[in-house]
Structure formats: structure tokens, C-alpha cells
Amino acid sequence: MSKVIEVENLSKIYKGNIKAVDDISFDVNAGELFGFLGPNGAGKTTTIKLLTTLASITSGKATVLGYDVTKHPNMVRKSIGIVPQDLTIDNELKGIENVMLAAKLYRVPNQIAKKRVKNLLELVGLNDAASRLVSTYSGGMRKRLELIVGLVHEPKVLFMDEPTLGLDVNTRKIIWDYIRKLNIDKRVTIFMTTHYLEEADALCDVAAIIDRGKIRAQGSPQELKEIIGGELLTIELTKDRDLQDFFSSINGVKEVKKSGSTYGIKLGQAEDAIPVIIEGIYGRGIKIKALSCSKPSLDQVFLEVTGKEFREEEFAAAALRRQDIIARRG
């Protein structure tokens, strides 16, 4: 597989000695959906800015499609698409005008642009709304339009910064579907950032966990979950029976702890293991009094790979740092 993005020892230090990105290295292969996972202020947006030529590199090297972002910014710009964190669609233009304007700026010949725009609008289900002013769109519609505005010039790589930030659960799932479609049907390599673990889980082939400018862990969502230790299944039985050996023998169970009639079972792959566990319990004529299953959350991932809690102060401090950077950059 050819490498579409190559990053070597990349650092970005803003004025005031703020290390936004601290010596990170990673590769993104062609066709991959690569996720950058981390809390606010971790350095995700800065990384995107460096890769999309919006911010200059302090040290290290980054290439996109073989073009060095510092030496050949215009070649990089021609070959990438971007879906920024903020909604940057022009409200006072019609949906189709926004997309056609992008086509003009990327010098897509008019006839080709018209065809592409029609297809793209169909892809995200905005055909009927295309001739309406964007100010009449819902948040989800705007995001969908935003997705395709970055695609009229058929870029090989698409950068998406928090594509579902602030959207409700249903809309988020719809956007996920479109992102998958772009990745698979249009064969676009996608680099996205998110602070939702479930988003990285649902979409990404590879995810890197970033905190305070450093990559703490990297791998497929499955591999990352296994670092955390997977889901925790808590079962309370009606009787105190020793099932430790049985639970330990099941494929996908990593650790079993017993406390009276309650078992805490750490699972690698919950989907496969839970039915086997339940059938086993019932097969032994035992009844379950209570059962709960907790999925690994960002808190747990974070705790595991950074060794510290993902507390509110952390959020606040990170948010402040970020605001500071935004104010500085304007």
C-alpha cells in the first residue's frame, strides 16, 4: 500500500512557547480512514492545520501525496480537500452556489463541475434543497453540504476536523454513513479528528490517540480497545456459585474477578463472549439477578494510555490553551 500522508517528528510551537504538537510521527496509507482521537486542546486541529498548509511547521517533516507541505504548499492544496471544524458554508448563498464556487476556485471546467456537483448533491441527499439559501438548512444539512464542498475537485485525500461535533445522535450516524461512502465508493483517503471514541470505533481503520501534542497509542480500534482491556461485564447471580474456571475458559474473556455472588469479567470481544457466558450460566441451572456491561469510554482510554484522569480541569485547561491559540492565530 502506498503512503498518502507521511509525518516524521513533526512539532509545532506557537508564540509564547506553546507546544501544540510535540514530535509526532505516523503514516496514512492510501484508502485508509485514519482517525486522530484526543480531548480538546490535544493538538488535533493544529496537526490538520500543519498538514493542510494553514500553519507553518516548527520542526520535522510532513508530506501529503509525496509533496512536502512546506516546500510545495500549492501542490498539496491542489490535491487535498478539507472539511473544517466550524461550519464554513456561506449562509447567504444557495447550496449549489457554494459547491459551484468551490469548483471555480479549484478550476474544475464548468461542464465537468455541473455533473460532479449533481452527483455529489445526490450522494448526500441534498438535491431538492440545492437551490435554497443555506440559511434555511438544518445543522445536519449544512454539515452534509460541507462534506461535498471539499470534494468537487476530486481530491485524493480529505481532511475532516471533528466532522460530527455538535450534531445529535441521529444526524451523527447519517454523517458516518456518508463518510464511509466517500471512503469506500469514492476511494478517498480520509484523515479525521474526533474526541468521540465511538466515532473512531465506528469509522476508522486506524486511530491514533493524541494528548498534549503527543501520540500515546496507535492502532485499529480493536487493538486500542484491547489496550484498555475491553468491556467490563458485571453479573450478579442469585446464588454464590464458583464459575471462575468456566468464565476464564471462554474465548474473549481476559480477566475474572469474584466478590461474593458478583463477578466482574473483563472482555476482549464482548459481542462473541456475552452469549456464551449467559448460555453457560443458564446451562448450569443458575439464575442471573443483575447484569450490566460498561463499554470502554474515552475516560478509560485516556486513563490507560496517559496514566491520568480525563477530568474537568483537564478540559478547562485544554480549552483555555486552545482559545489562546485561536486568539493568537486570529
Binding site: K78, T88, E92
Partner: protein, 284 residues
Amino acid sequence: MLTETWALTVRELKKWIRTPATVFIALFQPIVWLALFGSAFNPTNLIPVSIGPTNLTPEVLAQIRQSILSQTFGNAPNYITYLTGGILSLLLLFTSAFSGGSLVLDRRFGYLNKLLVSPIPRASIFLSRVFATVVKGMIPSLIVFFVALSIPDGLKLDPSFSLLDGLLLFLTLFLLSLGFSSLFTAIAIRMTKWESLVAVVNLLNLPLLFSSSALLPVTSMPDWLQAIAKINPISKAADVTRTLIVQGSVDLSSMMFDMTYLIAFAAILTIAGGIASVIALRTE
């Protein structure tokens, strides 16, 4: 560069036309100014018709008054005629002052970043605002010109005023607008807040206006102010348009210096503003 500049200029103009209130105000405001300055604030009324018990006959008094007026306001038959060129210059100054406004908003809403990650020449971001603003100023100025002509006791053109004079008049206004739009766009290129822009515009607008011959003749000013007024491009534009209106282009040579001055003003500010913008929009 032309393709991108044109595409972005069209974006600005579409947004302008789609907000009829601003278009309406752009037309309405200078007409109100004409009416207000031209009537209520009419300085010719300050010259008395009679001066109490005197040996002078009313005929002599009228002659004196007329001679004071023509010495002060040139050969303008009324104050509105004197004022129209000034008001048109003023209109273009005021519309140009906010030429950077959409840039500030684009920066705030992230649209500018989207432009910056696209492979467009940076100068097209600057030029599109400048050209759009020039159009947004020139269209109302044309309408105001015809309104001033049509109101009773309004603008009275010299009988020799030709189509060529009309073209020269609007060329003058175009140059003024181009220069100021470039200046104010360049000022706004790094701004993040609308409030800062309003503050700068307020800081510059009225001093630029009152240190010019747009509303009153330079001769009515103290020496130090006259010195400033003489190099103020608004004075140049007001003087040229006024001369064209009052006497036509009989004396082209007297206008040559002012026109050259305005061409230089527009060219220098457009080029300097363009270069400053390209530098300001470089990757940090």
C-alpha cells in the same frame, strides 16, 4: 488569477443584492445627505439678503451677495450643484470604508481558512473585496447623480456638459473608490473583530471628510487645514467632479494634475494593498 477574483467578486455581489435593505440604504443615505446638507445646512443662506438701514439699493445688495457666492462656490448656480460632486465622493469614501468587512466575517466564520487551503492566488482574496466594493459604490453614485438632477432646484449641469464629461466624472469617482477600497481592505486583512473595523473606520472617515473640499471650499479653512485638504484625494475627486458639473471640460488642463494624482493614488494603494495582503495571508 482573474477566474478566482471574478468568482469571489460575484460571491460578494450576490450577497449584496440579496440583502435589499443594504442596497436600499446605500441609495437612500446619500439622497438624504443631499437633501439635508443641500437645504438645511445650506451656507448660502448665511449670507444676508438685507443688512438693515443702508444706502445700498436692493439691486446692489443682490449683486454683492451673488459675487460673494460665486467667489466662494465658484460658478455653481446653487449649493446642491456645488455639493453633488462632494456628496458623490463622500458616498464612495463611506462605502469603501467597509470593504474589509466581509473579510473580517470570513475570518471569524472560518471561510477564510477554506480559501487559504485552496490553491488560489492570495491576491484574489484581496482584489475580490476591492472590486465588489467599487461596484457597490458606483451603482448608488450613478443613481444619486440622476436623483440630484431630477429634484426641483437640484443639480444644474453646465449646458456644455457632454457624455464624455459624464464618463470623466464617473472615472474620477471610480479611481477614488478603488484607492480607498484597497486601503480599507488592507487595513482589515488581519482583523478578527468587526468592532475593531468600525473603530478604525470611525477614526478615519470624518477627519478625511472634513479635511477635504467635499462640503465647503478650501478657501474657508485655516492655512494648516488647507495644506491637508489640498493633498486629500477626496478634495481632488470633489474638485474634478465639481469642475465638470459647473463648467464642463472646457479647461481639461486644469484637471490633468488632479486626475493624474487620483490615478497614482488608486494605482499605488491597489498595488501596495495587494502586496500587503499577500504577505499578511502567508502561512504563519
